[in-house]
């Protein structure tokens, strides 16, 4: 395979770190600044509208019953529709109501990253300069590669008991990986599984919205209900409280 260069740009949005990565063909030059600016601006715009911590966000206005009809944007409607679909598809494992209030936070980051990727990175993968691109937003990853390349992203899953270590790794072309867990900030998912079997759930899917929703759902449901519902149709890395990977699926 031909030589490639990896460019990494870190941005801060939603009070979180995002790594935007580009793989450039060895004999080509790529200036990432403009693209990174677009991604940053988009993520900041989504944060303004959907942050549960900003009183002026559409989500907070809606929670207070103060969202003006004219401010119910197409994006707001899309997110609302998506999270309700997700709740249904996961049999309530993904819950868009936190303490009884509408709160789509569980999907907004993944949704925004996927949209940013589709809008600003994907179109660049059609020329000879860019071989691959990816966005990692605090563990939510969307990757893409050009049709011509054999390059694959090497993606690792963090060990929840030691975040300097990897539990396992995969190769992704056009795909997504999301991880949900409790290791950093305690419990933030309402558990259907009263045993709280899982300490971390990672899902690999074609798109990040799907991976994100099912990672959250798996944490909530526990491995038994999750496997029953998805019947092995999603690739998952589920880690239990004793740091064992439960029912590990063999990669294809």
């Amino acid at each position: 395979m031909a030589e490639t260069k990896l460019i990494t740009k870190q941005i801060i949005a939603m009070e979180m770190p995002f790594s935007v990565k580009f793989v450039v063909a060895g004999d080509q030059n790529f200036h990432a600044t403009l693209t990174v600016q677009k991604v940053t601006r988009y993520l900041q715009h989504i944060d303004q509208d959907f942050s549960p911590f900003k009183a002026t966000s559409l989500v907070c206005q809606f929670q207070r019953g103060e969202l003006a009809a004219a401010d119910c944007t197409a994006e707001f409607q899309e997110v609302y529709g998506l999270v309700m679909r997700a709740q249904e598809a996961t049999a309530g494992g993904f819950d868009p109501f936190f303490r009884g209030q509408f709160d789509p936070t569980g999907i907004v980051k993944g949704w925004a990253i996927q949209n940013a990727f589709t809008r600003y990175l994907q179109p660049l993968l059609t020329n000879e300069t860019l071989v691959a691109a990816a966005i990692n937003g605090a563990g939510d990853i969307q990757t893409g590669v050009s049709a011509m390349t054999t390059f694959r992203w090497q993606v690792g899953v963090e060990d929840p008991s030691d975040r300097q270590q990897l539990l396992t790794g995969f190769q992704l072309g056009n795909g997504a990986m999301a991880t949900s867990g409790t290791s950093r900030h305690g419990e933030h998912i309402v558990r259907q599984d009263v045993q709280r079997t899982l300490q971390q759930a990672t899902i690999i899917a074609r798109d990040l919205i799907t991976a994100d929703i099912w990672a959250t759902a798996a944490m909530s449901m526990g491995p038994i209900a999750f496997n029953r519902l998805t019947a092995g149709r999603l690739q998952s890395i589920l880690v239990d409280q004793s740091n064992q990977i439960v029912g590990e699926e063999q990669p294809c």
């Binding site: 790594s19 009809a69 197409a74 249904e88 598809a89 990816a134 563990g139 056009n174 949900s180 798109d207």
Partner: protein, 155 residues
């Protein structure tokens, strides 16, 4: 020449605003027929289906009390369309419309089956890793994380 174009543009915009205002305020009853106009001119793309509007409601209100249907948005889980109840210009409730052609849960899980990537296990702490997925959620969580270390190493 530049001034002429500016004047023309201003005139066109003014006319568009007047027409839009007219359609929005006075033609709301024929919402189905007007919905294309409404969706292209207002940020909130609703068309009104049924209205219990009181005629006395303020003319400044863009939306009369009633139930509005948003434009369908294509998502990877199929089209989603929401119906909104609006009272005094505010959203009081939202519900997602069901599509008759929906196949229920299977569709949403099946849609993601058989991903196109090829996955292979890698050795732990492989130096070749570029992206790390974990449960970190804040900037604090990121500092000192493996992803951060990798990014720094790349320069």
């Amino acid at each position: 020449m530049k001034r002429l174009i500016q004047s023309c543009l201003a005139l066109i915009i003014t006319v568009a605003i007047i027409i839009d205002g007219y359609l929005l305020f006075f033609k709301n009853r024929n919402a189905t027929a007007q919905s294309t106009t409404q969706t292209s001119t207002s940020a909130a793309s609703f068309s009104q289906k049924a209205s219990s509007a009181s005629q006395s409601s303020s003319a400044r209100q863009k939306y009369q009390n009633g139930t509005y249907t948003g434009k369908a948005t294509a998502t990877q889980w199929g089209d989603v369309q929401v119906q909104t109840v609006i009272k005094n210009g505010k959203i009081t409730s939202v519900k997602v419309l069901e599509y008759p052609n929906d196949n229920g849960h299977d569709k949403e899980i099946n849609a993601q089956a058989l991903p196109t990537y090829k996955a292979e296990t890698l050795k732990k702490q492989s130096a070749k890793i570029q992206l790390v997925s974990g449960a970190s959620e804040t900037y604090k969580g990121f500092t000192g994380s493996l992803q951060n270390a990798l990014d720094q190493a790349e320069g």
